[in-house]
Symmetry: C2
Subunit: 332 residues, 2 copies
């Protein structure tokens, strides 16, 4: 029973002992469709877009590394510029995880910033930071054509918009969901397009409007997508490896999940944050994502919306944009 629950592939289900119920035949699972993708469907992620964040080792002394993929143009490029600047100036080294709110966010930054119980002075910010306008939470559609239901030329999306999005993703609760160069986005023919707050997305903490945040304070989503934050905060990337090091941290007992002064020992130290392209070639991690313009991706998304692999009895007939995660893997 336990091994079969929520089985994600035939190969995994077959790891059941011989005495257990045998797996019936069925359509391939989404993970099997991805595993069978031709090599040409995988797109390399530039090393300039990868942040390597090293946390202090865990209680057993095991290393903890988190890799974040930064968003490409046209999204949030001012903040992305700042984040590379913070990383390259070493500003992030020595900050900590200060907030973990269940079913919401894990947030890291300078523990002495805006903190009435601060143990020390806030870190001075580096020079050269850009100040962003709220209008930049949304990107102009003139900068790109997402594969969505109102795409101008469906052929550009390899048939995805015609045979999939109109029925499935377009039923998203909050907008016309679409995929753009490997990212889950929403779009609006009037306003443009914007990234959405799915699990693992990374955003920029800010104060009240018109402040838009610098990138000194970052968070990632560790629960059900808080879509009310879309277009209200800058999203800058997503965690593509090591998410469990941020999602399984002890929750803070202070307001909004901040660790209280008594819980200061629970703050996880961040030892360093590096742009991968600055590392020695032998230390650079390499990742790739499944092209969201590929036929494989369309087949994968359709299979998520209508699970017909052996465990399932009733296909859902649709899927939330945040359940159609873009596959990302280590490159060989």
């Amino acid at each position: 029973m336990n091994k079969a629950l929520l089985a994600v592939s035939a190969a995994l289900a077959l790891s059941l002992p011989a005495s257990a119920q045998e797996e019936p035949k069925g359509a391939p699972a989404p993970s099997e469709i991805v595993a069978a993708a031709p090599a040409g469907d995988w797109m390399a992620i530039p090393a300039e877009d990868l942040l390597v964040m090293t946390l202090a080792p865990d209680a057993e002394g095991k290393p903890r590394q988190v890799v974040i993929q930064l968003m490409p143009a046209p999204f949030s490029q001012g903040w992305v510029h700042n984040i590379r600047l913070f990383a390259r100036s070493g500003w992030y080294d020595g900050i900590s995880v200060n907030r973990v709110q269940d079913n919401y966010v894990t947030q890291w930054g300078d523990p002495n910033y805006d903190n009435p119980e601060a143990a020390g002075e806030p870190k001075p910010l580096p020079e050269g930071l850009k100040v962003m306008e709220e209008a930049e939470y949304v990107a102009s559609r003139s900068q790109g054509v997402p594969c969505g239901p109102d795409v101008i030329d469906p052929a550009m999306c390899n048939g995805i918009s015609e045979r999939l999005l109109a029925n499935l993703v377009a039923r998203d609760a909050l907008g016309q969901a679409a995929f753009w160069d490997g990212w889950q986005v929403n779009q609006d023919s009037m306003q443009g397009m914007w990234p959405v707050h799915c699990y693992g997305m990374v955003g920029v903490g800010r104060n009240y409007s018109p402040d838009t945040g610098s990138g000194a304070e970052l968070y990632t989503v560790i629960g059900h997508a808080p879509r009310h934050l879309d277009r209200n905060i800058a999203l800058v990337g997503r965690v593509i490896e090591g998410m469990q090091h941020l999602s399984s941290l002890p929750r803070g007992s202070g307001a909004l999940g901040f660790y209280t002064a008594e819980e200061a020992a629970k703050r996880t130290p961040i030892l360093s944050v590096r742009v991968a392209s600055d590392l020695a070639a032998s230390e650079q991690p390499a990742f790739e994502y499944l092209s969201t313009e590929s036929t494989t991706f369309a087949t994968y998304a359709e299979a998520i919306a209508n699970r017909r692999d052996p465990f399932f009895i009733v296909p859902a007939g649709g899927a939330d944009i945040c359940n159609i995660r873009v596959p990302v893997r280590r490159a060989e």
Copy 2:
């Protein structure tokens, strides 16, 4: 900056130090609407519907208790019967959390069941368990009238269906979302209504169809709602207190997030599970939920779909059913 990010109420935001940006005026936050609800909008949860699950103390020796609210009729009553039977026979005492898969589920049961690396024999099941049919994943609408867009008599829902659901919840990706006696559900005029896999919901592990599970193996959702499981697995309740004790556990490194044999020490022991009504009166926890048929709830849901409290600049214009969590609190 960090204290203000994602502020949920004026009271919390005002805990900012004097030097920080002052909070602008705005509409009340959803949490403030709930805090102002009249006493009559709160409905007592029967003690017979509360399970008190005591985990082994944490690494610091602190107690860990989880309270689960079981679903009322007409949902999943065969499984709920079994779960009370498991609890009352003491069968759950001594089992453990065996699986934690990031952005998916935490699962508990007998670690020796269906486990090729088992350290011992599986526990024999108690007598008197019901065997359920798959048809019972869906409840007949003749057993209740949910407050949804195609409700027969909108007046029964205190105006919710007219002024809220048609525009907001009905835009749910996967069905006609609605609320029923304090629960988030989906409905279909042909088939009936069924609970949905939101964060914190508790379900029954099973093997391949036609097995439907007994209730010996349970899980809770710790990530973005896996709605493809709706109508494919029995949902039996939700975690209403202590969720962090299940969501922040270390992830398993085996297939599907199971702890491997080498990680056996990570399995969290479950010391006991009791039906609250069986406890001494002085030890019985008491909880209440905000009536989903109340005007307060309609106002609260509308405020979630259109955040106008001070932090927000663009209201979303809608909300996913899983983001409209039914408020539950300790009764005084």
